[in-house]
């Protein structure tokens, strides 16, 4: 469904991605782990064309989307809950969800709204509250809900657990598992919280310094001593 082939991305002179290859098949949850500054966010953003890959290709459902303008991707079925959540802080919860549904049309709106309110009942209670006044956990729920409102076939999530209490993290991961199971939604998940992410994912990639250094099933990487030492020990 998603294929990234030999992608290089630069910020000015800095080469943040140095030839990245990954693939995500339909219906999978694939996770990408790696330490700070590895280039994970850059990869998600490059998939969305901002910044653009300077070399290599991004293919989605067989089509080359490397040069497609960012604002067209949501119509093609790619939605992202980005790093830092990026809630529209001076809009209400409801307006944020309407923004998510911008290119979906009014026909599905009520049904989709019920669906995300089922997943995140907290948002329903706070529908008229301004995004900027939500708690961190609620903002993360809203960021995911907003992405879901576009009925994506591929959901990109950038560190949804960052800074959240363990209980909220569990809730968010449950939702990810749930939408993957019941809707068959494909998920590409970037995480620092490697333990949870590897347990959830079908497959995983490890990124170091702009390169993929390791790939395998979630269970394989969980068992890998190097991974344990680098990303798991101490944390959990």
């Amino acid at each position: 469904m998603l294929e990234v082939r030999g992608v290089h991305t630069f910020y000015g002179q800095i080469e943040a991605l140095k030839g990245v290859d990954i693939s995500v098949e339909e219906g999978e949850i694939v996770t990408l782990i790696g330490s700070n500054g590895a280039g994970k966010t850059t990869l998600l953003m490059t998939i969305c064309g901002n910044p653009r890959a300077s070399r290599g290709q991004v293919l989605f459902e067989g089509e080359d989307i490397t040069q497609v303008p960012t604002h067209h991707l949501v119509e093609r079925g790619i939605a992202q809950s980005p790093e830092g959540r990026r809630i529209f802080s001076r809009m209400t919860v409801m307006e944020n969800l309407q923004m998510g549904a911008l290119r979906t049309g009014a026909a599905h709106f009520d049904k989709d709204l019920d669906m995300v309110f089922d997943l995140f009942p907290r948002l329903k209670e706070r529908r008229d509250q301004r995004g900027g006044t939500l708690s961190g956990g609620e903002q993360q729920m809203l960021a995911i809900a907003r992405a879901l409102m576009s009925r994506p076939r591929l959901l990109l999530l950038d560190e949804p657990s960052l800074g959240l209490a363990p209980m909220v993290v569990r809730q968010i991961f449950d939702v990810i598992r749930e939408i993957n199971r019941s809707e068959g939604m494909t998920v590409f998940l970037v995480e620092q919280n490697a333990f949870h992410a590897l347990k959830l994912a079908h497959r995983a990639y490890v990124m170091v310094n702009g390169r993929i250094t390791l790939a395998g099933t979630g269970a394989e990487l969980l068992a890998n001593p190097e991974i344990r030492a680098a990303y798991l020990e101490g944390g959990h």
Binding site: N50, H71, A79, P82, R86, F88, M91, Q98, G100, L102
Partner: protein, 306 residues
Amino acid sequence: MLAYFLQQLINGLTLGSIYGLIAIGYTMVYGIIGMINFAHGEIFMIGAFVSVIAFLVLGALDITFIPLALLVVLLAAMVFTAAWGWTVERLAYRPLRGSFRLAPLISAIGMSIALQNFVQISQGARVKPIQPVIQGGVVLFTGDEGFTVVMSYLQIFIIILTVVLMAVFTWIITRTSLGRQQRACEQDRMMAGLVGVNVDRTISLTFVMGAVLAAVAGLMVTLQYGVVDFYIGFLAGMKAFTAAVLGGIGSLPGAMLGGILIGLIEAFWSAYFTIEYKDVAVFGVLVLVLIFRPTGLLGRPEVEKV
């Protein structure tokens, strides 16, 4: 005394409506790109000039049915200002979006000067007069000293049209998808792109919407004073800019409130102090606001919880 006061109030509100309409253009553009559109005064000037020319053409064609004439003139003014507003964004702002903040301001001022000179050369430097279009008014009442308070039909027209436009714009910004897209670009341009907003197009539209209101203001000034010259954009632009800052730049109700306050200050200062110093009074307000309340009356402080 009361009658005189009321008359100034009416005059001030009328003038304030015009400033407010121009101020909205400043505030909307500032809201979405975080920069002042320094070519906005000239957009207003074009609105006024196109109005004069359109009235002259209609006069020559013997079209005397006033509502039709007003509509045609308004549409003509809007088309030209919209085109110019769009051009300013494309030429002065978009290519320089990633560069240092002063660059687009300089290019916008450059475009303003070029346009002023073009109008001066093509239309002549002397003022252009037209015959009064809307005449007469209603006498509201006569005060003790025999002073009558008059509200001209033109003033009624200006105030009603302003209220209607304000209502429409407030509705667009707060309730429609276009308004949400504009606010999204204002708050987080990158995220707006991710949810599918065409950011470039939305910014262009914002310039055009501001320009269209400036066209209405241009028409109003033409009707009110009956004369225009190539230089009116500068002073009116500066005053409307003051209004936008006073109300809180970036805030739509703020722009309107600021416009009305500036109009009132100007009217009352002229009536009770010295007419020569009315502009000084207005810009004195700008200085005071910048010193004591840089966020304006309805503006929000820069720091906020994200």
